[in-house]
């Protein structure tokens, strides 16, 4: 009773403070797909820059629909989207990573995907699941990203390594051989500490069969498999195979080119980057699937396209998303950006079917694992970041670090 009154006072002040005007101002059916309208789209980073060209072509073919793309930097994307959601000014279509999906679905800012138009079977399983929150689909997969092992083949020869490491023990002995016989400064580059260290840790965690949160939503970061992953990860630092401190903004490709770092895990964009920035390095490197602990499982990432709940142009938005995610659109997008198609059909011809490096990504993608779409995911991973740091800096044993992380994550998922 008392509390209700107080809550109301606070709430009114907050509501005004946030400039909330009735969010559901749209209502009704909205504008027909082919009526004259402007479709607003937000895309991040490099995608934001390049999507503008696609939009222009689309508008040429569909003169009534004027697609307006706003590029948003990744560093401000999250805040910008949240404040737009708060003010009810989200664009008709937004690019969204898997980790955002949970939050925005939770605050009810997203329109469920029409599964009659977009079929689960057409996409990689992990990238489809990325858009699923509590059984409802909110995002259409646009492009995928997974991490694989990049390694120097020329130095491998010097080190007497004749094939890509396929297991944890092969990976470790490769790192040692690189260092001892090929004279590289380090054996493998994995992030020791700092924000999002977890990204570097996923290939180990998933490959040993571990997880942070299991299917039932329970924290399981202290499972024996996860502890084994922590141990293995830490070993590289104990033995001086990996650098113990890395500054924010560290560019691994520079040291890869120099030969200081012969191996690292990263995503598909690195291929483009290596080809563009270090053309002399061509033919001296290759990619391989994540070395297996129990099996070879990497993380899945990438982006989906979502439609805002408040959009008046949902019909046209749906058509534009169809244009971007059908086979032709996906092939075209790959040509422009080297982003890997989320639609499996797009992989059946051209360089995507022929390039052996791209095939590695494709194979890795089949089993890749995505993060659960929990609204508090970034907070959960920050706990794992700290645990990894404690292990790599030799402050805590793998077991203690895992236990501590477990109790903290439990507190977050309840």
């Amino acid at each position: 009773m008392h509390r209700a009154a107080r809550t109301a006072t606070v709430a009114i002040a907050l509501a005004t403070a946030f400039g909330i005007t009735a969010c559901g101002s749209s209502g009704g059916e909205g504008v027909a797909a082919d009526a004259k309208q402007t479709l607003t789209v937000w895309a991040m980073g490099a995608e934001g820059e390049k999507l503008g060209d696609v939009a222009k072509e689309y508008t040429k073919a569909n003169p009534n629909v004027n697609v307006k793309v706003t590029p948003v930097g990744w560093d401000v994307a999250h805040q910008k989207l949240v404040s737009a959601a708060a003010a009810g000014t989200l664009p008709d279509i937004a690019q969204m990573g898997g980790t955002y999906m949970g939050e925005f679905a939770e605050i009810g800012a997203l329109e469920p995907v029409d599964t009659k138009v977009f079929d689960e079977k057409d996409f990689f399983p992990a990238s489809w699941e990325q858009g699923v929150v509590d059984g409802e689909v909110y995002g259409v997969p646009w492009y995928v990203d997974t991490r694989v092992l990049y390694y120097r083949t020329d130095l491998a020869k010097e080190a007497g390594i004749d094939k890509a490491p396929a297991t944890w023990s092969e990976l470790r002995s490769a790192a040692e051989a690189y260092q001892d016989k090929a004279g590289t400064k380090w054996g493998l580059n994995i992030q020791p500490s700092g924000l999002d260290t977890v990204q570097s840790f996923y290939p180990f965690l998933y490959s040993s069969g571990g997880e942070i949160i299991d299917k039932d939503g329970k924290a399981v970061i202290d499972s024996p498999a996860a502890v084994k992953a922590f141990e293995e990860y830490g070993t590289y630092f104990d033995k001086g195979l990996a650098k113990k401190s890395v500054q924010p903004g560290y560019d691994v490709t520079k040291d890869f080119n120099k030969g200081d770092v012969p191996m690292f895990f990263s995503g598909p964009w690195i291929m483009t980057l290596l080809n563009d920035q270090y053309p002399d390095l061509a033919g001296k490197w290759a990619v391989a699937k994540v070395p297996a602990g129990e099996k070879s499982v990497s993380m899945a990432g990438g982006s989906s396209l979502v439609i805002s709940k408040d959009s008046d142009n949902k019909a046209a938005a749906k058509e534009f998303i169809t244009y971007l995610t059908d086979t032709k659109g996906q092939e075209d997008w790959f040509k422009r950006t080297s982003d890997l198609p989320a639609a499996t059909a797009a992989w059946e011809s051209g360089p995507l079917a022929e390039d052996p490096n791209l095939q590695v990504f494709r194979e890795q993608m089949e089993t890749a694992k995505n993060s659960p779409p929990l609204p508090q995911w970034s907070e959960i991973t920050s706990k794992v970041d700290s645990a990894v740091e404690a292990v790599t800096q030799g402050k805590e044993s793998a077991e203690d670090a895992a236990k501590k992380a477990q109790s903290e994550v439990e507190g977050l998922v309840k």
Binding site: T7, A8, I20, C23, A86, G88, V246, Q247, E389
Partner: protein, 333 residues
């Protein structure tokens, strides 16, 4: 708070004559405070005044007063991500955020780190700023402008550019310091990657960045000292050191007070340096209160909790500022 008891009354008696009784710039202001401020009248003669201040008042209300009030209210609620679109659902939880803060290891650590930054950083900034100002004012005659600009340049340089330069300087692998060290056969430490060195490195960088502001203040202060006073001291046989201690320093006191207060406030809010250089690491050794607040608020969306943090920081800053004003002012006698 009873004013009838002995000690309290004598306290009041001691402090009262201070500002009022002393001649000089502070005298008139106190009398005006008592006399001048009647009820503001909204007459025609005041209309122009109101008209001219309206833009400021509107902007101030919208962008300062309102957010400040909203933050205060929010700090008593569990405002989180789900309340972004439904602020009405935020629940009033009283002082829970505040009590939680003081058992939050991370917050206490960030409080300690901020204190460390201030305690080491402020004296260094003030000291070096003063030194450079005195040197520029007395020593170098020719390239004075060049040096002034040189020392002030870091102040107006974007933090991102600064970060790039400093990362190069401090990089343990192929940075400037590492290079110089290896020339003479030493190994440079990993400045930003070492828990003990990360904070001192950031302080060094902040001192370099903020010294210029303090220097400009001191130069202005130094130039306001009448030459007659110095000459008189010289005639009385004061050497340079004596002159500095007995004449310059006391006359610089108001500048010193101002510089110390603004530098302290700035350092208590320190955010940019750890944000661009270390992101709070390694092992939270450079996590400051502001950075912690930013993370809680914008990464995890614990708006209520972050607001409480903001108010704790506010109280700390106010307390320290009041203390400084007291301590440094009372010494002027």
């Amino acid at each position: 708070m009873s004013t009838t008891t002995g000690p309290a009354a004598s306290d009041a008696a001691k402090t009262a004559p201070g500002p009022g009784g002393k001649p000089g710039p502070r005298g008139p202001s106190t009398t005006r405070k008592d006399g001048g401020r009647g009820k503001p009248r909204l007459g025609v003669q005041n209309l122009a005044g109101w008209l001219f201040s309206t833009p400021f008042l509107v902007l101030f209300t919208v962008f300062m007063a309102f957010p400040i009030l909203a933050t205060l209210l929010m700090s008593f609620t569990d405002f989180g991500l789900r309340n972004v679109t439904n602020p009405l659902d935020a629940e009033f939880i009283g002082f829970e955020n505040y009590t939680k803060l003081f058992s939050d290891e991370k917050f206490l650590k960030s409080l300690f780190n901020t204190g460390y930054f201030v305690v080491v950083g402020v004296p260094l900034t003030i000291g070096l700023g003063l030194l450079v100002a005195v040197l520029l004012n007395n020593g170098i005659d020719r390239a004075r402008t060049f040096f002034r600009v040189g020392f002030y340049a870091p102040v107006v340089t974007s933090i991102v550019a600064v970060a790039v330069v400093w990362r190069f300087v401090l990089d343990p692998a192929d940075g400037l310091v590492a290079g110089l060290a290896s020339e003479v056969g030493l190994t440079a430490p990993d400045f930003l990657g070492d828990e003990k060195l990360a904070m001192p490195s950031l302080i060094l960088m902040a001192v370099w960045r903020n010294m210029g502001t303090v220097m400009v203040l001191f130069i202005a202060g130094l130039q306001a000292i009448p030459t007659e006073v110095r000459e008189a001291a010289k005639l009385d046989g004061a050497g340079p050191w004596h002159e500095f201690r007995r004449i310059t320093l006391p006359l610089l006191r108001p500048t010193m007070l101002y510089a110390t207060v603004i530098t302290t406030i700035g350092y208590l809010n320190v955010f940019e340096e750890p944000f661009v250089m270390t992101q709070g690491g390694p092992s939270d050794s450079t996590l400051t209160v502001s950075l912690n607040m930013y993370r809680e608020g914008f990464n995890f969306f614990h708006m209520g909790y972050a607001s409480a943090m903001a108010y704790v920081l506010f109280v700390v800053i106010m307390g320290i500022t009041v203390l400084q004003l007291r301590l440094l002012k009372d010494n002027t006698k």
